[in-house]
Amino acid sequence: MRGNSPMKVAVAATAIALFATGCQKTETPPATSGGGILRINVVEPNSLIAGTSNDNPSIIIIKQLYAGLVEYDAKTSAPKNVVAQSIESTDNKVWTIKLKKGFKFSNGEETNADSFINAWNWTAYGPNAALNSEFLGSIEGWDDLQSEDPDKDGPLKAPDPKSKTMSGLKKLDDYSFQVTLAKAFVGFPAVVGYSGFYPMAKGCIDDVKACKEKPITNGRYKMESSWKHNVEVKLLRNDDYPGEKAKNGGLYYKIYDKVDTAYADYEAGELDVMEAVPPTKYKDAKSKFADVLFEKPNNSFTYLGFPLYLPQFQNVQVRQAISLAIDRQTIIDSIFDGRFSAAQGVVSPNFQGFRPNICDNCKYDPAKAKSLLDAAGGWKGGKLILWGNAGQQHEKWLQPLGDMLKKNLGIDYELKVDLQFVEYQQATNGKKVTGAFRLGWGPDYPVLETYLFPLYGTKGSSNNPGYSNAQFDALVEQGNAAKSLEEGIKFYQQAEDIIVKDVPVAPLWFGKTTNVYSKNVVEYKYNPISGSEFHEIALKG
């Protein structure tokens, strides 16, 4: 064995040659039914069974695999029927749902009333630990499917829930069923478009474990093979789909843990649609890929909450002053390269019923802020502590925000960004926050109510400021009980007016979707409610 002996070189060369030739492709490209394969980046999903996933990566794929009762129109955001033929009610409490025929699961089963009833019962049943269980909570009888541990964490096992089926679900015949809600809600036809309400085949319920890896689906696409964890999920067009078929031959979701790596792969020509351009590459994308860059304000809302259980925040003029003293656009431009859109209200700019510029307190007016604060008797809270959860670099914008408050209102501030998310949520939920806190919110369904009641309703599930306003609650209820969605929206808008005047939270901004696509794409299509419309995107050649 010497230096560069010919033997060593030969062995090395042979090894590399063997690798190159012998271990090349282990997979032939999928047999496409014409139309090409669209390649998309995604983060590892939680699960491909609709009832068990509430995370975005899972939902992106689930929406392509399954057909639910409704989906959302790209222009109006109104629900349009898919499997449902009609969803009707006279009192917004009891809904009769009639289904179309012809939607089949990949194992041959028909999509019928049972597919929905069984799916919803399975998701709601506590011991199944399905993450979307809460969404079914609007249906009567949900409580009977939950079980409570009698002695908390002690040695006694929790008893089985009283029932496996919800009393509010009644099958009328094979293709129609009745849903009784616990409380009237005009937006129910829109709610059922959320992926948590998608149907499940009986074959899936019988063997959930197998279904998790290779789901049984009834949508525009079907699984080409099992889910390759952390690597890819491959979908092929379902040519038996009775509705409008997909415009391409399949979807190839490549799983990337880091979005930077996905962007590098996009630059190397490996992706046709690259979703969520990383913030560090935003300027790069804007200059290099300007003609294939897509930007639109999206539905993710960021706000600064005020703990109304602390005396210094209880005067509405103090809260208005703080909100008016924040120059949102400057922060967005300097810290975020303009990637967000300043809030003009508390509801998403993409939703039916959005009105621009209705939030006077969201504008930047330091003079008015100062006069309001003086009228309230000045700031009595000592140092204002600005809370944010750790690890997301919130300090970057909380600091200039605090500086603005100091400059415009003379309020001294301190940052508290040391709590990890779980602890942080426990503090905000548990009403233990000692200052203003940053939080985010996203919609569950495209009805204004989702931005209103959960956050500001007295019994709202995420009412972290502890806000309670009987007039607001009444308006939301009136909206829920309205004869039609358009009428309901009028009430919701009045409720929104109360919030932007009372500012229990200072609305900050809505996110912006930034996607890039490749030159292979004929035309990129986007739905402000459900995201990129992959089934509508055709490929060239």
Binding site: F19, A20, I255, V422
Partner: protein
């Protein structure tokens, strides 16, 4: 020798048990101080307390000891040991829900391929360069090796990795793919920007070089200095004056002695590849062991951490044992009782 090996194998047991307990205690502490990790799955919205409780129970995290700070949670530990050694059940991950043994089974093969490539590159290029530099000490080749290794050691791996991905994978790769019209396996496989399942070995070449870069440099330097030291030894002078052919003097006698410290380094680096590679796997999207550990740590997934670390401890112990046994082969003076 056999008694030595058996003794070493028996020492595995307390090491593994001790590691398991330490990890168990640390992960329990983490949950006790930062809260229920199941809560994080719900994101911004507050979960219904009943749903949260049910899910916590599903994941086996409802033991009350997890709410008391500093509690060593012996009953939970006992349960875990019982599952591991009697049922071979390491528990489940939270998100997505998979058996830890499945996760390990999946991810080990990616890391094994990456580690093998890095190891082979390290052996051939690292050893080769080191021997070349050692034999031709003071020559141009020696200087090249010395400077190159310093550069490789001083550039941090995350810089090297990202640079390699951008320049080789994206910039150069685009030239290869678009301008030269190279065949698919070259353009997308070797010069791709990330791991591709269509080319399970080729697309790991560049990541393997990046992963091995630090150890190539250290191996080269170690071989070089070890060789230089041995070349000046008395026995070499004796052998030469005896009239042995230079090839035999260097090839058989000197190299064998120089390799002892190098073999240690190689063995340890193999262990490091299998366990570490976190940065490289993240940059090139290789869903291996390092990547799995990183996600488990960020999400506070105790079961996954315990399962994978147990596996890694066993790997390290085995590799160390093999390296020690290799000494006896290389140096006849070393004998174990």
């Amino acid at each position: 020798m056999l008694r030595y090996v058996i003794r070493r194998l028996l020492q595995f047991i307390p090491t593994v048990l001790g590691t398991l307990f330490l990890l168990h205690y640390l992960t329990s502490l983490a949950i006790q101080f930062t809260g229920n990790p199941v809560r994080a799955i719900f994101g911004d919205r507050n979960p219904n307390p009943q749903v949260l409780e049910q899910m916590t129970r599903e994941f086996g995290l409802d033991d009350r000891c997890l709410t008391r700070k500093f509690d060593p949670c012996f009953s939970l530990f006992g349960e875990r040991l019982n599952n591991i050694f009697l049922h071979f059940d390491f528990g489940q991950s939270l998100f997505p829900q998979r058996a830890v043994t499945d996760i390990l089974d999946d991810s080990v093969w990616y890391t094994a391929r990456l580690a093998l490539i890095a190891f082979l590159i390290e052996v051939f290029i690292g050893l080769g360069a080191g021997v070349l530099a050692g034999l031709r000490s003071g020559s141009f080749a020696d200087y090249v090796v010395r400077i190159a290794t310093v550069l490789m050691i001083s550039i941090p791996i995350f810089v090297l990795g990202v640079l390699a991905r951008q320049f080789i994978g994206v910039w150069f790769g685009n030239i290869v793919r678009n301008d030269w019209g190279a065949p698919d396996w070259l353009g997308r496989g070797v010069f791709g920007a990330a791991y591709k399942p269509e080319y399970p070995w080729l697309s790991l070449l560049v990541p393997g070089i990046v992963l091995g870069s630090l150890t190539i440099a250290t191996t080269a330097r170690l071989t070089r200095s070890s060789l230089l030291e041995n070349l000046r030894a008395d026995y070499v002078r004796t052998a030469k004056s005896k009239g042995l052919a230079p090839k035999r003097v260097i090839g058989v006698h000197t190299l064998r002695n120089s390799l002892i410290p190098v073999v240690t380094a190689l063995g340890l680096s193999l262990g490091a590849y299998l366990s570490g590679a976190v940065v490289t796997e993240g940059i090139f999207r290789v869903p291996g062991v390092g990547f799995t550990i990183l996600t488990a740590v960020t999400r506070g997934e105790a079961s996954v951490l315990l399962g994978i670390t147990t596996f890694l401890v066993l790997v390290y112990l085995t590799v160390n044992l093999l390296v020690d046994m290799l000494y006896a082969v290389l140096d006849p003076r070393i004998r174990y009782e």
